[in-house]
């Protein structure tokens, strides 16, 4: 621990020395009497000052939580010598809230007897999704006379991933093409399945149970049913994290991450394989996968999404080909603010990907600008965004604007309706 003398020592010692000297020079015992308590306190403090030899440990009760969950940070403290006052300061990361609504830091002061072990349980509320490090604790011990402090910083970071609250989604955007693995989507191809597709004449090798006896009786020859098989799909969630438009009620990135988490969970529930491409200051991607492990892997990656200002990838306009599997449905979540994100979506359309775009409106988060010029700028921005949406739609992408007031489910239904009109959706 780092020992620091307080300013009190110098003040007391200086005043006591001057008073003693004055008492000697003037021959006045009263000045000595006035100086003595200060001098005695300093001497006693110096004689009794001992490093408290603090042992401390920080434990966070879990690794994953949901937004608005409470997480307990346990601080175990033990001192070899008595500590009259021990200040414990826990750094609360932005996006979390300490007890009594404390932001940034939470601090308390306790007394520790020699050998006493104390455990402080600090309840921290997760206010925003993200990946956090908890466990940055500063300790400051005071001696009996407050002449010295001993300081120490505990760096025992525990990672905590806070996931956004999942939204219930009953209908999702259906992909145009399916994969070969079994799933819940009715494929356009014909094969073994439940959904009726067509009738055809019997061929050697057909199973007797697939014979349609009514059609056979009507047509005079053996007819068999053809069916659509149920297949899984691959969905890639494309997250444009170049810029974040933040307002009082949230931000475009918050909306995008929340929607991506809900979409990932919903698609995986219906046994689809879901991947992620986070396209921002740098490109992160996860190959599509299914199951709980893949979901957690995706959510963990998603929680690390942030606006990352870097010059390394400043000219990036298109995604590396390996990041996107063929026949995958790409659901893009973008505020259409950064031209690199906009250009990347045009590039995907040009490469023939099945693309559905949810345009997260930054207008609600940006707030209203004052004055005529502000209003004019806002109208121009709205016009620019509309023009951009029309350009995407002309190229065949289903694109719907998502304002803050609308539920994600409604937006997905609108996207699906757009795709059906454009002949991109099955059924």
């Amino acid at each position: 621990m780092t020992r620091r003398p307080s300013a009190k020592i110098a003040a007391y010692t200086g005043v006591a020395a001057l008073a003693l000297l004055a008492g000697l020079a003037l021959g006045r015992p009263e000045l000595v009497a006035v100086a003595a308590p200060l001098a005695v306190l300093v001497v006693a403090g110096l004689a009794g000052a001992r490093d408290p030899e603090l042992d401390a440990e920080v434990v966070v009760d879990r690794e994953r939580a949901l937004v608005d969950d409470e997480v307990t940070v346990e601080l175990s403290l033990r001192a070899a010598a008595r500590v009259e006052r021990l200040e414990v300061l826990l750094v609360v990361p932005p996006g979390m809230e300490g007890p009594d609504g404390a932001t940034r830091t939470w601090a308390t002061a306790v007394t520790l007897a020699a050998g006493e072990e104390r455990t402080l349980a600090v309840r921290v509320t997760c206010r925003r999704w993200g990946a956090y490090w908890l466990g940055d604790v500063h300790l400051r011990a005071h001696d009996r006379f407050r002449l010295f402090t001993w300081e120490r910083r505990l760096e025992q970071p525990s990672s905590l991933k806070v996931f956004p609250l999942p939204e219930t989604l009953r209908a999702l955007v259906r992909p145009l093409q399916t994969q070969v693995s079994t799933g819940t989507h009715v494929a356009a191809q014909r094969g073994d399945g439940i959904e009726f597709a067509d009738l055809r004449p019997f061929l050697p090798g057909d199973r007797p149970r697939s014979i349609n006896w009514r059609a056979t009786a009507r047509r005079g020859g053996l007819m068999v049913n053809q069916r659509h098989p149920e297949r899984a799909t691959e969905v890639v969630l494309f997250l444009d994290s170049f810029q974040d438009v933040r307002g009082a009620a949230g931000s475009t990135l918050d909306q995008a991450v929340g929607a991506a988490a809900s979409l990932a969970a919903a698609y995986m529930r219906q046994r689809d394989r879901v991947g992620l491409v986070s396209f921002g200051g740098f490109v992160q991607w996860l190959q599509p996968g299914s199951g709980q492990a893949a979901l957690y892997r995706l959510l963990d990656t998603l929680m690390e999404t942030q606006v990352f200002a870097t010059a390394a990838w400043k000219g990036i306009r298109h995604l590396p080909p390996r990041t996107l599997p063929a026949k995958a449905l790409i659901v893009a979540l973008t505020p259409l603010v950064d031209e690199r994100g906009v250009a990347a979506l045009f590039d995907l359309l040009a490469r023939g990907y099945d693309l559905a775009v949810v345009d997260i409106s930054p207008l609600t988060h940006a707030g209203r600008a004052g004055g005529d010029w502000g209003e004019l700028a806002r109208r121009l921005w709205v016009l620019e965004r509309e023009t951009l949406r029309h350009r995407y739609q002309r190229l065949g992408a289903a694109m719907v604007e998502w304002t803050d007031a609308v539920h994600l489910q409604q937006v997905l239904l609108e996207v699906e309706a757009c795709r059906r009109r454009a002949g991109l959706a099955p059924g």
């Binding site: 621990m1 300013a7 006045r28 000595v32 003595a36 308590p37 306190l41 200040e87 306790v110 007394t111």
Partner: protein, 183 residues
């Protein structure tokens, strides 16, 4: 304890320290008559300002505030002639009480929640050190009144004490980093 209450605790400590300093600064004025009283009143005012500043706002003013109060007391003492001042233990206890209350005010950070046990220990410690200061100063005055040998012995004791205190000053004046050690 919510933060506003903790801020009030800090203010209360600072105001209590200022009140003690006011008593220390204003009480000597009653013992001086004539034109010197006006000059002393200026000194008392300055000392009180410094003391209030140290207790409420700028802790670095603690040493100047203590010195100003001490200077005022010394002047009054010298005005009083050779008679031993019986109020000296009260002044000693008052100075210590003022300094400790000021230090408590500085320590009472509104963002830090002090446990009741910490506050109780501090209050008891403060009361005990004030009483101990009173007793020690009274003992010194009593010892000074005893016919204990010649002036030389007393002078030697005084010189040794002053030298010891100066050595302490030198020890304390070292840079903080030299006293620091990392674990």
């Amino acid at each position: 304890m919510p933060a506003p209450r903790r801020a009030r605790a800090r203010l209360a400590c600072g105001l209590a320290a200022t009140a003690v300093a006011a008593a220390l600064a204003l009480a000597p004025l009653t013992r001086v008559e004539g034109p010197r009283r006006e000059a002393l009143a200026w000194l008392a005012g300055a000392a009180l300002l410094l003391a209030a500043g140290a207790a409420l706002r700028a802790p670095s003013l603690l040493a100047p505030a203590l010195l100003a109060l001490l200077a005022e007391y010394t002047i009054v003492l010298l005005q009083g002639g050779d008679r031993v001042d019986a109020a000296a233990p009260l002044v000693a206890a008052g100075l210590l009480l003022y300094a400790e209350l000021g230090s408590w005010a500085r320590e009472a950070n509104p963002r830090v929640h002090d446990e009741r046990r910490v506050l109780a220990t501090r209050a008891i410690g403060l009361a005990a050190s004030t009483l101990a200061a009173l007793a020690l100063a009274a003992l010194i005055l009593l010892a000074a009144a005893l016919p204990a040998g010649g002036g030389l012995a007393r002078l030697t004791v005084g010189v040794v004490a002053a030298t010891g205190i100066l050595a302490l000053v030198a020890l304390v004046a070292r840079p903080a980093a030299t006293g620091a050690r990392r674990r």
